[in-house]
């Protein structure tokens, strides 16, 4: 893979709209908001939900149950500002406590986090978990509409007589948000890109075609690029950009079929039909109060936590390794299916970048281009991915060995997933022995400390193979902080090692899946061209096209 960093390639992607500076300021402020003791006001899920709701324009669907919550609050005399000046982070519990302390008669509760409320003869449930998960959106509504206007809506909610009244107010608030967001979150470029991709698929498979993930394959991506890149105004001149957008298209298909993002076509959804749909949503949100299927943090966001800039006491991946891993992780679950595209990207993407840079400096490198890519480039790229995988694993093992040397109790947690099945059983047996020797109740932390001490003392007997592997890794990866115990801030060192091991352990499998048993690159099959042959064919294709693109401007 090239030395040119992925970030540079990414920045070359032209964007001419998107969220305004003001919106970003507001969202950043909301995300950074803390309560009195310094804890974040909003959970990570609430923050992610805000971005999803804005991206999907599905705020109307959330504002509706929020209005029900505010209606209960207003009718019980809670001042509006109470919800924005809470001394605790916003959770279902803290919302419930706020309501409970304000009401003169206890608010009916079906479960801990579901409030029963009524408008005259109509009763409805308010799921506080759902409200808490959208706390960041509520803050954004406050900032966009303003306290004065929101209070006016709140006072109307206080006297709302029925579901229809609440709906009307919810519509009004949604309308205000719509007007703000249409000026502050333009999506013209995204729409234009989407149209280009959609039209290409329609032209390829037919207008009425129902698309699946596998329709977006390596050949479609390169054919698309070939077609559009000669247009000087196209947003897809850059192959990297093409790939990124088609990967997103695949993700969109996958997400649509798993309903990850909820779509809201327009505000008109809150009409008769929309009302019925919202009633169902209301019921569903009430029923899913025990929904503990929280969104897994994307592994990509975890990667940032082990970047050189983030770690203080240790160094795990280098900046280059970080960018390379990030580039590969962007493909997500689609990586193995698009391995050829990945190879094309890491091989020809940097070439295109060099050509662009040269053309900016009014130089030409077309004549020297042939020397940029060797016929073995794809094999080298595969090897580099494998090496990256090995490095990640090795770093995890070296970090675990550091914890062993420091006799840190965190070693036990780090070592367990790295050990094979036999050694894992042996480690558990040690824990069982320690427990069996207890004569009385013991603090859990103290028990963990005892088990850790026992394992550390008997590691050479209980997990000899693992220990040997860890030792070898430590010798191979001599990076900052990996090794002996530091003289100060041991707590930070230990925490970084332990977190780093966990993240590295989660990074390794996706990289492995790219190159391990991947049919696209197993050349033993007769129908599959060798990597070298593919590389040569692609090189001819790409270079020929580069000459068309950049030769004209040379």
């Amino acid at each position: 893979m090239s030395d040119i960093s992925y970030k540079l390639l990414h920045r070359m992607t032209v964007q001419d709209d998107g969220p305004s500076h003001e919106l970003l300021d507001l969202v950043r402020t909301i995300f950074d908001n803390t309560v009195a003791d310094g804890r974040p006001r909003h959970s990570e899920q609430a923050r992610q939900n805000l971005l999803k709701v804005l991206a999907g324009h599905s705020y109307a669907k959330v504002i509706f149950p929020v209005c029900h919550f505010l209606s209960v609050s207003a009718q019980n005399g809670v001042a509006l500002y109470h919800w924005f000046a809470m001394s605790q982070p916003v959770t279902a519990r803290s919302l419930g406590q706020g309501l409970q302390s304000a009401v003169s008669t206890p608010v009916g509760r079906r479960y801990q986090t579901v409030i029963e409320a009524s408008h005259h003869t109509q009763t409805f449930d308010v799921n506080l978990v759902h409200i808490a998960r959208h706390s960041a959106l509520l803050d954004l509504i406050l900032e966009v509409i303003g306290y004065d206007q929101l209070e006016a809506f709140y006072n109307r909610l206080a006297t709302a007589k029925n579901r229809h009244d609440v709906t009307a107010i919810s519509n009004d608030i949604s309308r205000e948000m719509y007007h703000f967001l249409k000026d502050h979150m333009a999506t013209a470029s995204a729409e234009k890109k989407a149209k280009s991709l959609r039209d290409f698929v329609a032209a390829r498979y037919g207008q009425d075609h129902r698309i699946s993930v596998s329709d977006i394959d390596d050949e479609l991506i390169v054919d698309f690029w070939i077609q559009v890149s000669l247009d000087t105004d196209s947003k897809f001149r850059l192959y990297t950009n093409c790939v990124q957008n088609w990967v997103t298209f695949r993700h969109a298909i996958r997400a649509a079929t798993s309903n990850q993002f909820q779509q809201e076509a327009s505000l008109d959804a809150l009409n008769e039909q929309g009302q019925a749909a919202l009633d169902r949503i209301d019921q569903q949100t009430a029923e899913t109060m025990f929904d503990d299927a929280s969104d897994d943090a994307l592994i990509g966001s975890q990667l940032g936590k082990i970047s050189p800039a983030e770690l203080q006491m240790i160094k795990l991946v280098t900046a280059t390794e970080h960018d390379q891993i990030a580039q590969l992780l962007d493909f997500g679950d689609d990586g193995p299916a698009l391995i050829i595209t990945i190879l094309r990207l890491v091989t020809f993407g940097p070439v295109q970048a060099r050509l662009i840079e040269a053309s900016r400096q009014k130089k030409t490198q077309l004549s020297a281009m042939d020397g940029f890519v060797d016929t073995t480039a794809y094999d080298v790229a595969i090897d580099q991915i494998k090496q990256l995988h090995d490095t990640i694993q090795g770093l995890a093992e070296a970090a675990a060995f550091s914890l062993y040397l420091a006799r840190s109790p965190a070693f036990v947690y780090a070592a367990l997933p790295l050990a094979d099945a036999t050694e894992q059983k042996a480690m558990r047996d040690v824990g069982a022995i320690v427990r069996s020797r207890l004569t009385g109740p013991i603090d859990e932390q103290e028990l963990i400390a005892q088990i850790s001490a026992a394992l550390l003392d008997s590691a050479a007997d209980v997990m000899p193979r693992l220990l040997h592997r860890l030792q070898q890794a430590r010798k191979k990866f001599r990076r900052k902080g990996l090794g002996k115990l530091p003289t100060e801030d041991v707590e930070t060192w230990t925490a970084e090692l332990a977190n780093g091991i966990e993240i590295l352990s989660r990074l390794a499998p996706p990289l492995n899946r790219l190159v391990s048993n991947n049919p696209a690159i197993i050349t033993a099959q007769s129908n599959t061209p060798s990597l070298q042959a593919r590389c040569i064919a692609d090189r001819d294709l790409f270079f020929d096209h580069f000459r068309q693109i950049y030769g004209q401007t040379a």
Partner: protein, 182 residues
């Protein structure tokens, strides 16, 4: 194309719509990560709340609020909401300086010290005592917000000594000024 018969499918327009959502999400996320906040960032509710609850340490914020009509309106709404007592603008425009401002919830009176050294006494008479101890008198005059810390209330009366340069004096004499106590 390789299309497995058991793979889920969707319509092209649905896929397009979801793409826009994902792309927009990506744009938001990326922009947010790269975003450099303005050194002069706009005021948010947290700023208004801080100014309303601890005005002594947020005098600069209060001045900023006054210079922005939108924020001033929001701040006024928050003060009214938090206020234990309010006194809206007086109805009649008086040509002579007023010595008493009558309100439904409290009256204000301004008396000069007999020492004639520029000291004034602002007397606040509350018509009904609330459970919460009032701590500040806020006032809005010419779109500027100011506050005065209140002394203890005895028999429904609080009194503050101010100098002749204190802006509350001009506010007091302006029927259009609005007063809040919280």
């Amino acid at each position: 194309m390789t299309h497995h018969s058991d793979e889920p499918t969707i319509g092209l327009d649905d896929a397009k719509a979801h793409f826009v959502t994902l792309e927009t999400y990506r744009q938001l996320d990326t922009s947010l990560a790269a975003h450099e906040p303005d050194t002069m960032r706009q005021l948010t509710f947290a700023d208004l709340w801080a100014a309303a609850t601890a005005p002594e340490t947020h005098a600069e914020t209060i001045a900023k609020i006054g210079s922005n009509a939108k924020q001033a309106s929001r701040f006024a709404a928050l003060l009214r909401s938090m206020a234990i007592y309010t006194q809206p603008a007086q109805a009649a425009a008086a040509s002579a300086p007023m010595d008493k401002r009558i309100g439904d919830q409290f009256d204000l009176e301004l008396k000069a010290s007999s020492r004639h050294d520029g000291a004034y006494f602002l007397i606040i008479r509350l018509h009904k005592l609330a459970e919460t101890t009032p701590q500040h008198l806020y006032y809005c005059h010419n779109n500027n917000y100011n506050f005065i810390s209140l002394s203890s209330v005895h028999n429904g009366v609080s009194q503050v000594m101010v100098g002749e340069d204190n802006p509350v004096i001009d506010a007091f004499n302006d029927p259009a000024a609005e007063f809040f106590i919280k």
